[in-house]
């Protein structure tokens, strides 16, 4: 109950800040920071929550780099996404879990249109169309799975995975990602590519685990094939792309492929904590990298060693966070006897080396004390939080009793 009160306080703070920001934009920022900090204390897992808090605050700070027409409200939107992401493990109600999926998605419809002193409606409409289709597919799949009708299980599973694939940008449903990433402003993209990716994954993970039947093992091959396709298309696409935004778009496609493969563990409760920890660490690595690189694109003064550190994290170089994410997923895949997918994951890590290094090289500059410099440094520091990852894995293990969703027939 306490967590619900704290979450309510967080939302009220956010609403107040958003209203006041009409007159005092700075109030929007401070109220959003206060709201996400309040939500942190309500979060079911402090280990998970601390990452969300840090990534969320970085997202809020990065909004300062753009002269938005909705200044003040933008803090509210991002703050709301962060609060919902904090809340995702607190509830076992299917309706609330699905509502969270929608609530994280909707603010991005507005954020994606943000540009310097204007709103890019064209990009917004394109993005919204894809997200609406994704949401419809995902919710349809989730409801079919929740009903527990055996003859419709495969259909529900596939619909949910397709919805997730479209939402996250997993190939071959990835077409919107490089296009939007090349056209939209880097600041809102750094939010869409970071905090917005976490809830859809967690929701899918929880629903698939909660509804797993003996059919899941057979239909999971579909997920594995999508994951492998996404890794290859993402990485190969990025190799030949020249625009930084497009490269980062394809990088997202590849990373979401790695992430997708962690969903294969939902039938194996023994390996569930490792798979979930791996998936989340990969998402955090992706978030840090995207925030850092998009900020570097916007500010053009990111410090070169830091851009390389972000690339190393993406590549999975130890002891950075991306290494643990990939390692945990690879170990899970090997243990559940998807060795071929683990091998594809490693091959793709090798394929991605040139473009991540090129990105670091081209976006890295000399040191400047600036907002960009701070954001990139903070992103690097987050990648170092799991030099020894035990504390995080223990936290995720403690979270396991909360994973199951009540389907209610």
């Amino acid at each position: 109950m306490n967590d619900l009160i704290l979450m309510t306080i967080a939302v009220v703070l956010l609403l107040l800040g958003s209203v006041v920001s009409y007159r005092y934009p700075r109030a929007g920022f401070f109220s959003a920071v206060a709201a996400v900090m309040t939500a942190f204390f309500a979060c079911a897992s402090p280990e998970y929550g601390i990452f969300i808090l840090l990534i969320g605050i970085l997202n809020l700070i990065s909004l300062d780099a753009i002269r938005s027409k909705i200044r003040g409200i933008d803090y509210g939107l991002v703050g709301f996404m962060v609060i919902v992401t904090m809340y995702i493990f607190n509830t076992a109600e299917l309706s609330l879990v699905l509502a969270s999926f929608v609530l994280v998605s909707v603010p991005t419809y507005i954020l994606v249109m943000m540009r310097e002193d204007e709103m890019d409606v064209e990009v917004g409409v394109k993005y919204i169309v894809f997200m609406v289709i994704a949401t419809v597919l995902f919710l349809t799949g989730a409801i079919i799975l929740a009903k527990g009708i055996e003859s419709l299980y495969v259909l529900g599973y596939v619909a949910l995975i397709l919805g997730l694939a479209l939402e996250l940008g997993i190939a071959p449903l990835h077409e919107w990602v490089p296009d939007i990433f090349a056209r939209a402003d880097p600041v809102p993209l750094s939010i869409i590519a970071s905090i917005a990716k976490i809830v859809p994954f967690v929701v899918a993970f929880r629903i698939l685990y909660s509804t797993a039947t003996e059919l899941t093992g057979a239909v999971m091959v579909f997920t594995a094939l999508l994951a492998a396709t996404s890794m290859f298309i993402g990485n190969i696409g990025a190799l030949t792309s020249r625009e930084h935004g497009r490269v980062l778009g394809y990088s997202t496609v590849a990373n979401m492929g790695y992430l997708m493969s962690s969903l294969l563990a939902v039938t194996e409760p023994e390996f569930l904590p490792l798979a979930l920890a791996g998936g989340l660490l990969l998402l955090f690595s992706n978030a840090c990298g995207k925030i850092g690189f998009f900020s570097a694109m916007k500010g053009e003064d990111a410090y070169s060693p830091f851009t390389y550190m972000l690339s190393f994290s993406f590549l999975g170089v130890p002891p950075l966070i991306g290494f643990w994410g990939k390692l945990f997923i690879a170990i899970t895949l090997i243990r559940i006897e998807y060795v071929w997918l683990a091998v594809i994951l490693l091959i793709n890590s090798a394929v991605s080396i040139p473009y991540y290094l090129r990105l670091a090289k081209e976006l890295g500059k000399a040191w400047h004390t600036s907002l960009t410099g701070f954001i990139v440094l903070a992103s690097v520091l987050i990648t170092l939080l799991t030099i020894a990852p035990n504390w995080f894995v223990d936290g995720i293990e403690a979270l396991m009793p909360l994973i199951l969703i009540e389907m209610g027939g």
Binding site: E122, E175, Y308, I331
Partner: protein, 572 residues
């Protein structure tokens, strides 16, 4: 009581405070104190303060696997000692450098090298292995030149690829055996793909030809001080893991013997002093790899002792050549000559390293190299013996004759103004030179550290006369043809021709194919929709062809998938 202190972590965590110290003198003192603390730690470990040798410390459970950060035994201790001693001398040599982050990189690099030698399991080995790769990268990039940036790029590509191969091998090994313990793989060799991948990962770092171009490409491009650090840790930690994991594997004995000769042949063709020395790392590491492959007690002792001595004299040689580069800005033989007038001390310190690497009696190379060579004779491998002895001649030829003549003599008048390097550089060189001579005259402290009891006596008339004879025969032809051994302005293509010529064509082929695909992709999304756009613009300005195209694909995939799922669901 503290259970144990990891010497590598003293350097790694200690280095993070370097940029925070504002006073230059304090910073310099702190930079020297770091390896001194690590050395004191090692002495305490040796003296049994933390439980004696062998012992195990710092076992950490991560996701059900026991990572062992502190496996202490004679093999790990001997490598740890030389890493720390070398780091101390190198830090003194680098004291005049103002770039804090270069110091941090160097200490991260040295610390992770220690992490590798104390790692008792494959996961922690891999972690420190990769930290070594990226921390050393900055030692190249801090040079700041275009060629250094490009060489660094190629360097890290090699190491990241090698790291992924190693990780793949480790994961398959863990899947097969269920164990992450880092022990000898000799009994399992050939039973699984894992061991080929692990060996491949190891020999990339050992710079075994044809997987060596990262070394000869990158080391000459590193900063003056950075190159000195790089001589010590990457290849020697690879030798350590080869001894630990593959001692007695005949394949690596042959690879090592060929490597010893290969490095020497290419070194003779070089015009750049540091590149010549880099090729000699390949050659010298060949002795160690070969020793690991022979696998007998004497060969392992020889490989270990040679790694110990090599780190000392190779660092000294790189320091000498680095000092020339520091004061003249030049390292090519065609741009140097006659510097003895300005830099006699540097010359003599360099020559101590040169005599050591050549295996002159009374220098440390003699007491280690002869052990490996003799081990090959004892197991009746005449071809290996011949390759190792032959490489000794080439080494003396290049390092003790060709390089010093081209840099310090060869011209009556110096071709460039020069002076002795800063005092700290000379001090660093002096410390290493003293160690080279001390261990050459009195090898007992080194022999006591070796993994097996040493029954080898270096100073027999047979060994001394044998080596003197060889070196004499190398000197005569050099002196007669000395004018022919001036450097030449040319590019020597090594196995990097694989990358540079057909590789370039292959890349072009791949790129062309990919670009054609990308063009098709772009046309599909931008040209065709552009036609549609013209038609639809008047109706709805916001509606572009791109969206329709995307939707068409997405709907097609979704509908086909759902139909298949429905059919599949009914069938199941």
């Amino acid at each position: 009581m503290i259970e144990w202190i990891h010497p590598g972590l003293i350097l790694i965590f200690g280095s993070l405070f370097i940029p925070l110290i504002s006073n230059r003198r304090v910073k310099q003192a702190y930079f020297v104190i770091l390896p001194v603390l690590a050395l004191i730690d090692l002495i305490l470990i040796s003296k049994g303060f933390f439980g004696g040798v062998p012992s195990s410390h710092w076992s950490i459970d991560i996701v059900g696997y026991d990572l062992l950060l502190g496996r202490v035994d004679k093999l790990s201790m001997v490598f740890a000692y030389v890493f720390v001693i070398a780091a101390l001398c190198m830090n003194v040599y680098a004291l005049h450098i103002n770039r804090d982050w270069e110091h941090v990189s160097a200490m991260l690099y040295a610390g992770s090298g220690l992490g590798v030698v104390f790692a008792g399991d494959l996961f922690s080995l891999y972690i420190f292995w990769e930290i070594m790769a990226w921390s050393s990268l900055f030692l190249i990039w801090f040079r700041g030149t275009r060629s250094a940036l490009d060489a660094g790029f190629r360097y890290i590509m090699w190491h990241l690829t090698g790291g992924i191969l190693l990780l793949a091998g480790i994961l398959i090994h863990v899947q097969t055996t269920g164990s992450i313990e880092f022990v000898s793989f000799l009994d399992s060799w050939g039973s699984s793909m894992a061991y080929y991948l692990i060996l491949l990962g190891f020999i990339i770092n050992a710079a075994v030809p044809p997987l060596h171009p990262w070394l000869t490409d990158a080391y000459p491009e590193a900063t003056v001080t950075g190159a000195v650090y790089m001589t010590a840790f990457t290849t020697k930690s690879a030798v350590y893991v080869l001894i630990r994991g593959f001692a007695g594997l005949e394949l690596i004995m042959w690879l090592g013997a060929i490597m010893a000769m290969y490095g020497v042949i290419f070194a003779m063709l070089q015009n750049d002093g540091r590149r010549l020395l880099a090729y000699h790392i390949v050659s010298q590491v060949g002795y160690m790899v070969c020793g690991a492959g022979m696998g007998t007690a004497m060969a392992i002792n020889g490989a270990t002792a040679h790694a110990f001595c090599h780190i000392l004299y190779k660092a000294l040689l790189f320091m000498g050549m680095g000092a020339v580069l520091e004061v003249t800005g030049r390292s090519r033989f065609t741009e140097l000559g006659g510097l003895y007038r300005y830099m006699p001390r540097t010359f003599w310190l360099y020559m101590i390293g040169a005599f050591s690497i050549s295996g002159f009696p009374l220098f440390n190379g003699f007491v280690s190299k002869t052990m490996t060579v003799e081990a090959s004779a004892l197991i009746h491998q005449p071809i290996v013996w011949f390759l190792l002895e032959g490489a000794s001649i080439g080494t003396f030829f290049c390092i003790a004759l060709k390089l010093p003549r081209n840099v310090w003599f060869s011209e009556e008048k110096p071709v460039v103004e020069a002076k002795e390097p800063p005092i700290n550089m000379l001090a660093g060189m002096g410390m290493l030179a003293a160690l080279c001579i001390f261990l050459g005259i009195y090898p007992k402290p080194l022999y006591d550290l070796l993994p097996y009891p040493v029954e080898f006596v270096p100073y027999t008339s047979e060994h001394v006369l044998g080596i003197c004879q060889l070196l004499f025969f190398a000197f005569i032809p050099f002196w007669i043809m000395r004018e022919s051994f001036r450097g030449e302005e040319k590019i020597v293509l090594d196995t990097d021709w694989l990358v540079r010529i057909p590789g370039r064509r292959f890349i072009r082929f791949c790129e062309d194919t990919l670009i054609r695909y990308a063009e098709f992709d772009e046309k599909r999304f931008f040209v065709f929709p552009a036609l549609l756009e013209r038609l639809s613009k008047s109706i709805r300005a916001i509606q572009t062809g791109y969206l329709q195209d995307y939707l068409r694909i997405i709907f097609a995939i979704v509908i086909i998938s759902l139909i298949l799922a429905s059919i599949g669901g009914m069938l199941i």
